[in-house]
């Protein structure tokens, strides 16, 4: 595309990050070029999360340059996520819509006459407002209790969602955490899908409501999500390295204290939802990480095979999506001391019958497109698979 500088037009649009989840260092270069660099803040390694709003650019065509950080790409496999409704819904601009060299990725965007506020991001940001919107559709549902897990480091109320049948104590428990790494937003859509599944008016939803209590922490690093931090590899350590003996984050301290007491010895399934790095062999797929606790290997294999068997989502799950212990980046051993990450910690609980980290790629799972919709569908499939998985597991 040829960009003609509009010398008569004033650069009267703005590029901002002053909204929940916003992140970028922004430079304007000439009238029509915006240079974006992920803002690492307290992250100690190269990372790639950025999220900006462009306001008042109706009718313009702007050119974006997204800088690499320490040589690492800040652009996903299907280009930037774009939202024209203030971050409620997202689309990928497309894998053909950008080009990339060893310094930056570039794309152009032509703003329509209605495009007063267009959001661009490395992913499809999901912030507390998205959860509020999801929950508003289920207001008054007797199975859903909205609670406060704790106050965050910055004094915010951290949501805790308890789904349980008010008429009875369920024999099984499932706990789910998301956003232990703040920027890993696609996991939040998986979580929405799981919640849709357990509220659904189908046979699986009914069985889950009758037999399972759910403990859900949608934003384990709540401040990080709200403030738009990378979260990953935060100094001195990130939230997903905070489940050991030296816990420093109030959310993690609260999970460690409350979850075991809440499950009260009932069989516990634990999912910690993540997205991996952006591109490459281990990162453009879906993985269920095998736990350090070997007795949970066979149950994980069974669970994933049930997702494969009964799954109906847009992303096909298969048993080779289990990342075995000692392979890939799943390499911690018991000699490294007690596990510091969420699913490792949960896997050591005496009542754990399954505990895994789920790593959903941002944009591409072995050729299947990851979107908010396909990620939710994966969550639905996981909720469905819980039914036969728990039915087959030893009766408590």
């Amino acid at each position: 595309m040829i960009l003609l500088p509009l010398s008569s037009a004033l650069a009267d649009y703005s590029v901002t990050t002053d909204f929940p989840g916003g992140n970028a260092m922004i430079e304007q270069s000439g009238e029509d070029t915006i240079r974006i660099t992920p803002d690492l803040r307290d992250t100690t390694t190269a990372w790639f999360y950025w999220y900006v709003a462009v306001k008042g650019a109706e009718g313009k065509t702007l050119h974006f340059e997204v800088q690499r950080v320490a040589g690492e790409s800040s652009m996903g496999a299907r280009g930037p996520g774009v939202s024209v409704d203030g971050g409620k819904t997202w689309k990928w601009l497309g894998s053909d819509a950008f080009k990339e060299d060893d310094k930056k990725a570039e794309f152009s965007y032509t703003f329509g006459p209605q495009d007063k506020d267009v959001r661009f991001s490395v992913g499809m940001p999901y912030v507390p407002e998205n959860l509020t919107q999801f929950l508003s559709a289920h207001k008054g549902n007797p199975f859903l209790q909205q609670k406060v897990l704790t106050k965050s480091s910055k004094g915010r109320d951290v949501p805790l969602l308890i789904f349980s049948n008010p008429a009875r104590k369920a024999p099984y428990t499932v706990a789910i955490t998301a956003r232990n790494h703040a920027c890993e937003m696609m996991g939040s859509y998986v979580l929405e899908g799981i919640m849709e599944g357990l509220l659904a008016e189908d046979a699986q939803g009914k069985w889950l409501r009758d037999n399972v209590d759910f403990f859900i922490v949608p934003f384990a690093d709540y401040d990080g999500v709200a403030d738009g931090d990378q979260g990953k590899n935060r100094a001195p350590h990130d939230h997903n390295r905070d489940y050991g003996d030296e816990t420093i984050y109030p959310e993690i301290a609260a999970i460690k204290a409350q979850l075991p007491a809440w499950s009260a010895g009932r069989p516990l399934v634990f999912f910690d939802l993540h997205d991996p790095a952006l591109k490459g062999e281990y990162f453009e797929t879906l993985f269920f990480l095998e736990n350090l606790n070997e007795s949970l290997n066979a149950p994980l294999e069974r669970f994933v095979s049930l997702v494969e068997r009964d799954g109906q989502g847009l992303i096909r799950v298969s048993p080779n999506m289990i990342m075995k212990h000692g392979t890939g980046y799943n390499k911690k051993t018991s000699e490294d001391g007690p596990p510091l990450h969420a699913s490792g910690w949960a896997g050591q609980l005496p009542n754990a019958i399954l505990s895994t980290t789920v790593e959903l790629a941002y944009a591409n799972v072995s050729g299947y497109e990851v979107t908010a919709e396909s990620a939710r569908e994966l969550g639905r499939d996981m909720a469905w698979a819980l039914v036969p998985f728990l039915q087959e597991s030893k009766k408590p």
Partner: protein, 226 residues
């Protein structure tokens, strides 16, 4: 095609065409009953494993389809099954199939869904997920197909209704395929009067063979004498 999983001659040799059922044609509703939700269809209404050595009980199961308003379908994956329905009679017969496929949009290997019908002038209905493939009619060997809807136009996880009307008097068949294209626009494919040479009218016995990576959904399947 790299590795055909079966050839028509192998398929005939496996005894698919034996007369083992008393039903006329195959017009079984895909529903519970006669099948059972959440269970394999094997052993019901004439469905059997095609090869004894390959008995994957999860390969063909009845389930409610979430994205099809909860309507039931047989969900197939790594299936190799057969049904020895008796020979169609009369001068016309119709095959009707409502089918959807879930397949990756990129990085795909060659993977197939094949519905083989014994004695049909179009030996098989095929979906092949690679750039030279798509939805069409195969020659029964798994190696050659006539692409009617190119792969790039087939929408993943979206139903297609395929009808083949065979006229043995006219020695010709008509194919129609309706559904939605990958870009969301309607698809209404029609090819009329495809000639064939056959001295032996009638269709008898079918097999379904599907790859692991192409998950297939069948919500309607019938083979009727008209």
């Amino acid at each position: 095609m790299k590795k055909p999983t079966v050839t028509l001659s192998a398929f005939l040799a496996l005894g698919v065409l034996s007369m083992s059922s008393l039903r006329a044609d195959y017009t079984v509703p895909i529903a519970d009953p006669p099948f059972s939700l959440g269970k394999s269809i094997i052993g019901i209404e004439g469905w059997e494993h095609r090869v004894d050595a390959h008995k994957n009980e999860d390969a063909a199961r009845l389930a409610r389809v979430r994205w099809d308003e909860g309507r039931p379908a047989i969900i197939l994956s790594g299936a190799s099954i057969k049904n020895d329905f008796p020979k169609t009679e009369g001068s016309k017969a119709r095959v009707s199939l409502r089918v959807a496929f879930l397949f990756p949009q990129a990085n795909i290997e060659l993977q197939q869904f094949r519905l083989l019908i014994g004695g049909a002038p179009f030996p098989e209905i095929v979906f092949q997920s690679n750039k030279d493939g798509g939805l069409g009619i195969g020659d029964g060997t798994g190696r050659k197909m006539d692409v009617l809807v190119p792969y790039s136009e087939v929408k993943s996880r979206s139903y297609y209704t395929i009808t083949v009307l065979v006229d043995y008097d006219q020695m010709a068949y008509d194919v129609t395929i309706s559904g939605v294209k990958a870009d969301g626009s309607p698809l209404n494919f029609e090819r009329k009067g495809v000639g064939f040479e056959s001295t032996n009218p009638g269709m008898q016995g079918m097999a379904i063979i599907t790859a692991n990576s192409v998950r297939s959904y069948i919500s309607q399947l019938s083979i009727e004498s008209l």
